[in-house]
């Protein structure tokens, strides 16, 4: 932590001194006027001390504001009213004759400065928000008693509030430090249902039923080094158990009042494995296979530099993708004359290859044998190659295929069996293949979840351009 931050942190402590002392000085001034007493030296001491404390507060406040965590507009207002109070305090000290007037103004300005300070720490409308909070708790306690009574009468399994009993303590322990009335980093507060639903600067953080789309959850999973990872590096992190609870809560609909059976076993998420996951917070994540998909990546070895270099020399494009650059997207676009040794080189990285594009006419059934073991392949593009049904059989082992492009190949109806065995296939390109129309229909029936593109689109001829104006 750097020096300026440490100084800045004394601001919340110091601000209370000028408020107290200067107000006390004002009270003394009133008292003196009213009781015609002589308190001149006491007033002077109080004003000097108070103003000095105010100056210190201004200084520390300035350092604190440099962190940039606070609303700039508010900070500016707070800053100038604060500095004004300080100057007015000193003026009152030096200009004894106008003390009454100056100190009155000072108190007013001080009050305004204090209010802005309060707004910065406790949020907009903090004066009234407390009411809302109170009524919230009232509702909860009401619900509390109701549950108790049902428990007594029916004597069922003990119920607990999922949010209040399980989630809230985690938030309290690990999040409130920066996201509550004390501080609201990123404009986010988590200490009240209303605020949690509202979200922060970047929008909503909760998507009931879908933890992966909820920033409240997904930011916990980001790699520790990422700026957006929560809690930030160096702060106490959530345990895997705690992460699982948040996940479970959101999955169950993120209800603030819902209950679960006390004995419910919350499914554990293996945090060690997913902590490396790269989620750009705004990315939409594929729903079901999020965890699986990404655990697969962390298990991979880092691709061998030597092999990568060798491939590069052969003009094979290898893009390192995924969070840690372990997933490879391989493209043969620059390869002029395909040579079977290329694939055997690539085979050394077969686990890493997720996407492969070979479009060389020289690539034929004989080479397909080498593709067998690329188990992690998700995207395979063999358009415009010379492969036939014989070659396709070699792909049977590629169970992870999500996308297959066979456009302009010799593949025919004989391959329907093999092709329809790819259960995870989302898109299939079959334009200009030997597969018949009946074959397409058959495939469509067998693979209801797969989008099949076979270039069946034909423009209908517009008669001619019929405008109101003759061309």
């Amino acid at each position: 932590m750097d020096f300026s931050k440490i100084i800045g942190q004394f601001h919340p402590l110091l601000v209370h001194l000028p408020i107290g002392i200067l107000l006390f000085a004002f009270v003394l001034i009133i008292y003196e006027r009213w009781q015609k007493a002589n308190l001149l030296s006491a007033i002077s001491i109080a004003l000097l001390l108070g103003s000095f404390a105010a100056a210190l507060s201004c200084l520390t406040g300035w350092f604190l504001a440099q962190s940039g965590d606070y609303d700039a507009e508010l900070v500016e207002k707070h800053q100038w009213t604060g500095i004004s109070s300080c100057i007015l305090g000193f003026s009152a000290y030096f200009f004894q004759k106008q003390r009454m007037l100056i100190s009155s103004i000072m108190v007013a300005v001080l009050a305004v400065a204090g209010h802005f300070g309060g707004t910065i720490t406790h949020g907009e409308n903090y004066l009234f928000a407390s009411d809302e909070k109170a009524s919230d708790t009232a509702i909860i306690s009401e619900k509390d008693t109701k549950i108790d009574s049902t428990n007594q009468t029916k004597n069922l399994v003990k119920q607990t509030f999922l949010y209040k009993e399980k989630v809230l303590p985690i938030l309290e322990k690990k999040c409130y430090n920066c996201h509550s009335s004390r501080k609201k980093k990123g404009g986010l507060r988590l200490d009240n249902e209303v605020f949690i639903r509202k979200g922060g600067k970047n929008g909503e953080i909760l998507k009931a039923g879908n933890p992966n789309k909820s920033l409240l959850y997904s930011h916990l999973l980001l790699p520790l080094e990422k700026e957006k990872h929560m809690p930030p590096k160096g702060k106490p992190q959530l345990t895997s158990n705690e992460i699982s609870i948040i996940n479970f809560w959101i999955k169950k609909g993120a209800s603030f009042t819902g209950e679960i059976e006390d004995e419910t076993i919350i499914p554990q998420i293996k945090v060690a494995e997913i902590s490396n996951v790269n989620i750009a917070s705004e990315e939409v994540l594929s729903k079901e296979s999020f965890e699986n998909l990404l655990t697969a990546e962390t298990k991979l070895d880092i691709p061998n530099e030597m092999v990568l270099q060798k491939l590069k020399n052969q003009k094979i494009v290898v893009n390192l993708e995924g969070n840690s650059g372990k997933k490879l997207d391989v493209n043969f676009v620059n390869v002029k004359n395909y040579n079977p040794t290329y694939l055997s080189d690539l085979q050394e990285l077969k686990e890493n290859v997720f996407s492969l594009k070979i479009n060389n006419k020289e690539f034929s059934d004989a080479d397909m044998d080498q593709l067998k073991e690329f188990n992690n392949l998700e995207k395979l593009n063999l358009e415009r190659t010379s492969i036939t049904d014989k070659g396709i059989k070699n792909l049977e082992s590629l169970k992870n295929l999500r996308q297959l492009n066979l456009y302009n190949t010799e593949v025919s109806d004989e391959s329907i069996e093999t092709i329809s065995s790819f259960k995870n296939l989302k898109v299939l390109y079959l334009w200009k293949t030997k597969i018949s129309e009946e074959g397409i229909e058959k495939l469509k029936k067998k693979m209801s979840n797969t989008r099949i593109e076979y270039g069946n689109f034909k423009f209908s001829k517009p008669d001619s351009l019929k405008g109101t104006v003759k061309l």
Binding site: N331, V427, W431, L465, G467, V469
Partner: protein, 481 residues
């Protein structure tokens, strides 16, 4: 990024002093020039910008309709205008907003509805003008944004703004930024290729700086492919000059350049070397990709009759597909002639006829080849046109002036929601009433689709950090699929 390291190494203080072998003045200069820390952080910036977002698009084809196509006769259907033919534009709509010098002095601003009918098409019943019968058939693939707006009211600043993020010349074009940030998968073709329709009315000029690299290293500039015998000028060997000789000459030239580079470390020397190498590889790759003899008749039919006429918009669309197939990063087409201050119905119909079928065909062709899912297609001009007629309004003739406050464009393919109509304008298509999208927002979104955080891809030039979106731009998340 190795280049940067090289420069850093070459230009460290000691080296510099040795080279200049002079006294304190040089030392002071050395101080100014020792860019090592800057270069380092800069490199970090670039790396930080790149892998942060999972890319949806690998390539882009941008169909630029230069001149400002009217939104009234294309996508922004305004049925209520038909009752207002010839009436003066209400002040409540214009609200005193500025007009161009061309129509600001008109006594009346007569409202003119589209001369062309609109029909609903596709699953989402999207309204499309009858001028675009082919686009209408693929409308379910499009994400139409009806609420684009810009600050620029004249062609040159507006088109410069669209292409470079700034209205004044001198900044890098979108394609150059992408070439710089992402490079190209294809080593034999430039990352950024420009095609200009020869069959368009050349009412407003285009300039090479629109695809210029600005302050980026010059290998990132767009390369224009021409329609004539030489698609790229000066690429062929001079007559009577053997290919082997050429290669030998180039290798010696590279050595000479390298000597110069070792001495001065000017990045432009690197660029020069890279460009010579690229040009050499292009001697074979360009004729190969320009050769359309292997395309079937069916393909030419799809793109329309113009597609056999090299250099026409339709032929350029077909060529764009071939380039994208070769994994060229950014293909920019320009079709001029959309600046219809007068005679709009006739000219508009002609412009649409020249472009409509080929545009739709490009989408279909990309789709059936499996390329639409990682290729982003963009269609649009630099601004829209006014609801009122410029010049004389007759029963079937009118013109429309420039209108920057709202206009339509569309995106399709990789990462955008197909079949979406986004944003809304008022009944006069004069002001935006819902979901405005600024040019910078569009640029930010385009970068986002390619996996780049537009706030992170920065280049420092003349003491200032620059980016495509200048100091603004927000990704339009609503249109991302």
């Amino acid at each position: 990024m190795k280049d940067l390291e090289n420069i850093t190494k070459k230009l460290d203080r000691r080296n510099f002093l040795q080279k200049t072998a002079s006294g304190l003045g040089a030392f002071a200069l050395g101080n100014l020039l020792s860019t090592s820390s800057d270069a380092k952080s800069f490199e970090k910036d670039l790396l930080a910008a790149l892998p942060s977002i999972a890319p949806k698009a690998k390539r882009v084809v941008y169909l630029f309709m230069a001149g400002g196509p009217s939104q009234f006769e294309t996508f922004d259907y305004k049925p209520r205008l038909s009752n207002m033919f010839g009436q003066d534009l209400p002040d409540s709509v214009r609200k005193g907003q500025r007009l161009t010098g061309m129509s600001a002095n008109q006594a009346v601003l007569p409202v003119v509805p589209s001369a062309f009918k609109f029909n609903q098409h596709g699953k989402n019943k999207t309204w499309v003008s009858e001028l675009l019968p082919y686009t209408a058939q693929v409308v379910d693939e499009l994400c139409i944004i009806k609420s684009l707006y810009t600050e620029q009211i004249n062609h040159d600043p507006a088109i410069t703004f669209f292409q470079t993020g700034h209205q004044l010349p001198g900044r890098p074009s979108i394609g150059s930024w992408l070439s710089y940030g992402l490079g190209s998968e294809n080593q034999n073709l430039p990352a950024f290729i420009v095609l200009i329709s020869k069959n368009a009315a050349k009412d407003q000029p285009l300039y090479a700086r629109l695809w210029g690299n600005g302050f980026l290293p010059s290998e990132h500039q767009g390369v224009q492919f021409r329609s004539g015998k030489d698609p790229v000028l000066f690429l062929n060997n001079p007559e009577g000059y053997d290919g082997a000789d050429r290669q030998e000459m180039l290798s010696y030239l590279t050595q000479l350049n390298q000597l110069q580079n070792d001495k001065w470390a000017d990045p432009e020397v690197d660029a020069r070397i890279a460009q010579y190498e690229m040009a050499y590889r292009m001697q074979t790759s360009v004729p190969e990709v320009m050769d359309t003899t292997h395309e079937s008749d069916e393909v030419f039919e799809l793109y329309g009759p113009d597609s056999r006429d090299k250099g026409s918009y339709a032929a350029n669309c077909l060529l764009a597909r071939k380039l994208l197939e070769k994994d060229v990063r950014f293909v920019q087409l320009y079709h001029q002639g959309w600046d219809h201050h007068g005679g709009l119905p006739k000219n508009m119909a002609q412009q649409c006829k020249q472009t409509d079928q080929a545009t739709a065909a490009l989408l279909i062709d990309l789709k059936r080849r499996g390329m639409l899912e990682d290729t982003l297609v963009v269609w649009g001009g630099e601004f829209g046109r006014t609801v009122y007629s410029q010049g004389k309004l007759t029963q079937n003739d009118y013109g429309r002036d420039h209108h920057p406050r709202c206009f339509s464009m569309w995106m399709a393919g990789a990462g955008v929601k197909a079949g979406l109509s986004y944003g809304q304008t008022d009944d006069f298509s004069y002001n935006i009433v819902k979901n405005p999208v600024h040019v910078h927002d569009f640029q930010a979104t385009l970068m986002h689709l390619l996996g780049i955080d537009h706030e992170q891809l920065i280049f420092k030039s003349q003491g200032r950090r620059f980016r495509l979106t200048d100091v603004s731009g927000q990704v339009v998340k609503d249109i991302l699929s």
